[in-house]
């Protein structure tokens, strides 16, 4: 029988209590990474601190390259990876934005690299707390983008990222997201599998080409427009393949290590539920608690947790939209002038859906504003009750305004109002 993240294994597993950041470092060590290049930024810093400590004390046989900025951090990581070394970096928020140019270079070069993104708000105003605008900002770059719910999944996803990124059907870099402070600085139990088992499961590094003084490979040269076009086509092809690989890796990891998450998404009572919440990251657990309470009260409701933002889980979302009476999207990010990211992405699957469910998009928790199980309970209950009473509607941009400002500002802005389907 497969274990879920919270069930303990028996042999060969060590339960430690670790912060999310330390869980990352342990996974990077377990993957036998050879080069780490990074620049400190809150709340990512303790990942690199821990790795530096492991390297210094000889627990990890790797080289730490100290750099002067995040732009250089990823450039050095890419360089080392292109030369054949399994390489890793980590960053957050402003650091991620500063390296954004190299984010594209890495994916375009098709060089497998793994990067942790400890999600954090982007200034100004200055804010170090959790927010998803930094991670989703990498959406179009060609990286595989995943995000964890808890520290165990942080460890498991980080380890899996090397396997996925280095799969010859994929050969794309991969981001593993973990929520700033909420996971990065929270201590929780983590099972670390036996190193021997990890070594058997994770093959030696593979990559499409290796740059050496003799190899004659040139990176970043001018390409014909048609070649450029086809290289874009090939990245999209790799994303399609990545969906299969992610699912295979999840299955296989489950068989070997006992934890399986569901691939691109985790379905928590979502199959057959009339109503569903779509959410990503650490607060998904609070949404699950709210759902368990609502289910006890007789509501038919579940959670579809987005684990991978790229490749986007098209089929899973299409199926959810096709079978649900109402879907509530919870976004911790906003595309200004547009909408929340999860809702925006999911709406591209609506045309393929055989159904037109009621939809509400909630913007909540920006800049680390705390939203817990009680609030998810209220948000979900009022959504379901409204749909049951008034019929289906489209309400794409509902601002869940922080308590101190609630009642003083409208929850909906002109042009993004709620309207019922009958009115169309």
């Amino acid at each position: 029988m497969l274990l879920t993240w919270f069930q303990r294994g028996d042999d060969g597993m060590v339960v430690k209590t670790l912060t999310g950041n330390k869980a990352v470092a342990h996974a990077v060590k377990a993957a036998r990474v050879k080069v780490v290049a990074a620049y400190p930024i809150t709340p990512q810093t303790t990942i690199v601190e821990t790795l530096a400590d492991m390297i210094e004390h000889g627990e990890m046989n790797a080289k730490m390259i100290r750099v002067e900025s995040e732009h250089s951090a990823l450039a050095a990581t890419l360089g080392a990876a292109a030369a054949g070394a399994r390489s890793f970096t980590a960053t957050s928020s402003h650091g991620l934005l500063l390296m954004h140019e190299v984010v594209w270079w890495t994916a375009g070069a098709r060089i497998p690299v793994v990067m942790s993104v400890v999600t954090r708000a982007i200034g100004p105003p200055w804010n170090i707390h959790v927010d998803h605008n930094d991670i989703w900002d990498q959406r179009d770059s060609g990286w595989i983008i995943s995000i964890a719910e808890n520290n165990q999944e942080v460890f498991d996803l980080t380890l899996q990222a090397f396997r996925i990124s280095e799969d010859p059907r994929v050969y794309l870099p991969m981001i593993v997201g973990l929520d700033g402070f909420i996971l990065s600085h929270t201590v929780a139990p983590v099972d670390i599998p036996d190193q021997e088992k990890i070594d058997q499961w994770l093959p030696p590094r593979r990559q499409p080409y290796v740059i050496t003084p003799e190899s004659g490979v040139v990176m970043g040269n001018l390409a014909a427009d048609e070649d450029y076009y086809m290289m874009r086509y090939s990245i999209q092809t790799a994303m399609v393949e990545a969906k299969k690989v992610i699912s295979e890796v999840d299955d296989e990891y489950g068989e070997v290590f006992g934890r399986k998450y569901g691939g691109l998404v985790e379905c928590f009572h979502c199959d057959g539920s009339k109503y569903n919440i779509v959410i990503a990251g650490s607060w998904s657990g609070d949404a699950k608690e709210a759902v368990l309470k609502l289910r006890d009260e007789g509501y038919s409701v579940g959670v579809l947790r987005v684990r991978y933002f790229r490749p986007w889980p098209d089929e899973e979302i299409r199926r959810l939209l096709s079978t649900s009476k109402g879907v509530l999207f919870i976004d911790r990010s906003i595309s200004f002038g547009g909408k929340g990211h999860l809702l925006t992405e999911a709406m591209t699957n609506l045309a393929e859906s055989t159904n037109l469910p009621a939809v509400r998009g909630v913007i909540a928790g920006l800049g680390g504003v705390d939203v817990g199980a009680d609030e998810f309970y209220e948000l979900t209950k009022s959504f379901i009750d409204e749909v049951e009473e008034n019929g289906p509607f489209y309400d794409p941009l509902y601002w869940h305004i922080p308590q101190v400002y609630r009642g003083k500002y409208p929850e909906r802005l002109p042009g993004y109002g709620k309207f019922s389907y009958e009115r169309r």
């Binding site: 993240w5 996971l183 929780a188 139990p189 650490s282 607060w283 680390g368 817990g372």
Partner: protein, 185 residues
């Protein structure tokens, strides 16, 4: 079983470490736990908080703790700076490091447990950077006031947190605090 605990301390007193040790002790017993600091900038000497959750079931939530079941107060003078009774439930338990004659107003239904952890630190010559170490003592006091985990698990976790002499000394502090903690309100 599901318990939420808040640690009130001053920056540098080890409230976060105490929460982490408590989380580790719970895992030793096959329980589930979380511990986390109050997310924000911290300054040495300023009032700070850390939190822990302990459960016999997996803990799904990651949101903040608004009112805890138990407060552990590393310095009794924090009662003048922070609304400590307001940080715990109406029937909550507060465990404080305080001199013997300490008294304070609580909400009706709340109870107070006292121990002089400063004295224990002095007896054991347990100082770090000139500051008496009280965080490990207060873990002993906590599990006396409310057995959320056993004293043995606390002692084992302290010893594995600081291998060797420092661990032995801190474990002794926790043990003495456990023996000397009394209900004072």
């Amino acid at each position: 079983m599901y318990v939420e605990i808040v640690f009130h301390g001053r920056g540098g007193q080890g409230g976060v470490t105490a929460a982490n040790i408590l989380a580790g002790a719970a895992v030793r017993e096959g329980k589930w736990s979380q511990s986390f600091p109050h997310f924000g900038a911290e300054r040495r000497g300023a009032p700070v908080r850390a939190y822990a959750r302990i459960s016999d079931k997996p803990i799904l939530r990651h949101s903040q703790i608004k009112t805890a079941d138990i407060a552990v107060v590393l310095d009794h003078e924090l009662f003048d700076l922070v609304d400590i009774p307001g940080s715990v439930k109406d029937n909550g338990v507060i465990v404080v490091n305080a001199p013997r004659d300490f008294s304070v107003d609580l909400k009706e239904g709340q109870s107070l447990f006292c121990v002089n952890a400063m004295e224990i630190a002095r007896e054991l010559k347990l100082f770090v950077a000139g500051w008496p170490v009280v965080n490990t003592s207060m873990l002993g006091a906590l599990v006396k006031a409310s057995p959320v985990v056993s004293l043995d698990s606390i002692l084992a976790e302290i010893k594995s947190y600081w291998p060797g002499k420092p661990g032995e000394l801190n474990a002794e502090a926790a043990k003495r605090a456990y023996e000397n903690t009394v209900r004072c309100i």
